[in-house]
Symmetry: D2
Subunit: 256 residues, 4 copies
């Protein structure tokens, strides 16, 4: 059973709407409108333990999940939703040891999920043209202790990809079709290409580009996630719903 | 660049509808209606390479992905769809080193995806009450070279879970609500519970059971996957669609 | 070409977000933050005509559609969405001459759509237990000039339906399953039953009641409506979406 | 209570999968694999009545609904689904007295639904370029006793619409954008335009054409219909589902 150490991040959970990610430091207090929590009191307790605030409110101290980190990420860009990240990771077929090119890095949300999937033996090469975004991403990835598996590259992926023989290339940028030839050069035989795009015009151009290069199994999907309220005599899909985030196009490189 | 070895599985790709998973053996031929492929010819070529059949048809020899293995799995049970597996893996937050309890094993489709996620340092404890299913699953998992990360347990998970302090419990069985108390005992603080069920009555009972045990963040979702046809002047969601596979309920264990 | 008369309702359209339903009166002004419109100026103009406000803003004077009236309805209750009303009207197979029982009346939104479908020869018998709702509905229906086709009945439909041999019964109330036996008594052979319910528990009870009475072709559906943004290089389903309004159960009465 | 007459169409219902539309004639028999039904025996019975076949099977004799006629229609073309027809009728805001232009007629499925909505005082002007389709449509519409409200026009609607000041124009054809200027000429102020198209490219062109003409409230939607299985411990959306039929674009004509 892993215990909380000084310097760990924890998620303090009050209820489903109110959670806070904080770093544990002896002598430091975390203040909420429900009173403050003595962070030092958490040291040595197992993750999942309750802690009572100065005003008597019960919090639980949880180990941050990757999806907690994504939600709490300091962000300057639109961040992929967990439904799309889950599908991307599954389609990319990456696991420990995989070498993956990503662009753009954005706030590092997908980068963290990718890095967690390929550790301890793999590596993520993540391109970002905007130095300000890259700085934010570095902070997020370091805080998640995942920088050892990531190489942040400041560069324009529409001009080329330096890596060769990679297992997967994953794109979340405005003009993925321009990157298709570079992805073709970078991928090993059988390697996976994946691209996330909000609009159907982006998809049309990307699919057309894939068909002009040695790619097979071109497939475009859209994932719709419905949350269901489950409670006696009130069970039903929820009224509010995300109508669309984007399309995911996947394909597989072959050798000619 | 990894090359094909004798004894490797390859997927022989003819087109998007016709793919075949075969084991490479020198001197052996794989026969199709488009002629036969000399499997020994593949040895030493990189994955992704073309190979021409005796009748002149071009195949490509691909490394099998986990999702290829799931689709090609010898199965005696209903198998989870990639859309649901991707979401489950994302929600379970597992990666190298995670210890996960699964029930039931079924044909081992989800077991393979879980094992690939937790290797090289984690372990999947997979319960199955039906020895015939377990034998099928063992064959599938061995063929995928993932048995080193899996412990197949013949037993009834509705009577208890032997492991303690596991990171996640994932259920795909008829009566998940009976397993909720055992999952609560088995999970470490902050560990993740996930259950896949086709019917809403199963969901109602499972959610009610979770609310009677120390679980937070109970959430039920349904994922709808639409494939999009993308071709000039024919772009549209596909006519045929899977209407429903099942609901996924997730939750998180706390310590009291 | 029909012209606007004194006393007509018109919808003043400024843009897709700003429309106002007003009654045309000579000498009266309608004030908006874009200046006022002289309502008397509209008299004699064809519907669809432009009118310029005192501050130079262009409005268009439209004949109110039933769906405009539904959206602008003075309401004290949840109102059915157009997607659900369209499906209900199609399934109910009503047209000029049909006799239809409705409960509850609510704000009269569905009542107006029903009355417009059965005029000039049919009739809607609409039950409502709450006199305050009924008064609101009467105002809305009168304003739409549809009261000639509607009989508003203050009564509890769970205790019985007075009409016999009606073509259709349509329910939008909390406990439709209690009304099923009364609907069976009221419907002519082959008549249509339809019920709208937000929760799956309501649906389960209603379907069980239908199966205990002489009904065939019991069918439950859910309609999901997606609005699509269509604009060059920005075409995509909209981000915000209504996730769920309710389930519609339909069935058909037979004689034994 | 309406009784069955000689010459009436009835739907003979055996179960949810097996229904037959037949014309009642004294002395004639309708043969099924469950024995034959003496059609003359139905004369004078109320609609909804049971009738027993020569082999003892129970059928019910139902009055054909418009949606029964659409499903049973002799068709040579793709026919609109009830979900889409319901939404179209609701958006078109048509009722007794409306004058509506339709193109193309196809098998007359939508024509029948439109005619039933506008009778007894309205009229449908339905254009079809293919005489063979028109002949089929005429048979279907006559059988439904709705020809009194329909004018079938053999002509190419892409070259112009003869009618003026109509309440609505509804298109189900390959190139709706070419018809937009003609629809603009034909519609009265405030009249409704609606178009059904399977592909997004058709939608893009149609919306662009609407924006170049005096139309407001341009809206494109897609309707997804899910059938729900409702049965104790088996309640769930159905596995098989229609993934897509088409997009519906609606708009409203203004005067300039």
């Amino acid at each position: 059973m892993s215990a909380i150490d000084e310097g760990d991040d924890v998620v303090l959970y009050l209820d489903n709407r109110r959670t806070y990610m904080v770093r544990v430091e002896a002598g430091k207090q975390f203040h909420t409108h429900k009173g403050f929590v003595e962070l030092g009191d958490l040291i040595g307790k197992p993750f999942g333990s309750p802690v009572v605030s100065s005003l008597g409110a019960s919090f639980y101290a949880l180990r941050p999940l990757i999806r907690d980190r994504i939600i709490k990420t300091e962000r300057r860009t639109q961040v992929l939703y967990p439904k799309d990240i889950g599908y991307l990771l599954q389609q990319l077929d990456i696991s420990s040891g995989s070498r993956v090119v990503e662009a753009g890095t954005g706030s590092g949300a997908l980068t963290m999920a990718l890095a967690d999937s390929v550790r301890p033996e793999g590596r993520i090469y993540s391109y970002e043209i905007n130095p300000a975004f890259q700085a934010v991403a570095r902070g997020n990835i370091e805080r998640a202790s995942l920088m050892a598996y990531v190489e942040l590259k400041e560069g324009d992926v529409t001009e080329g990809i330096e890596e060769k023989n990679v297992d997967a290339v994953v794109l979340d940028l405005a003009t993925p079709w321009i990157v298709v030839p570079h992805a073709s050069d970078a991928l090993a035989g059988g390697g996976i290409f994946a691209s996330f795009s909000p609009t159907i015009e982006q998809v049309m151009k990307t699919v057309a580009a894939l068909r002009e290069h040695p790619f097979i199994e071109v497939d475009t999907v859209e994932l719709i996630l419905r949350h269901i309220t489950v409670a006696e005599n009130r069970t039903r899909p929820q009224t509010q719903m995300l109508g669309h985030s984007g399309y995911i196009t996947t394909s597989r490189k072959i050798l000619k």
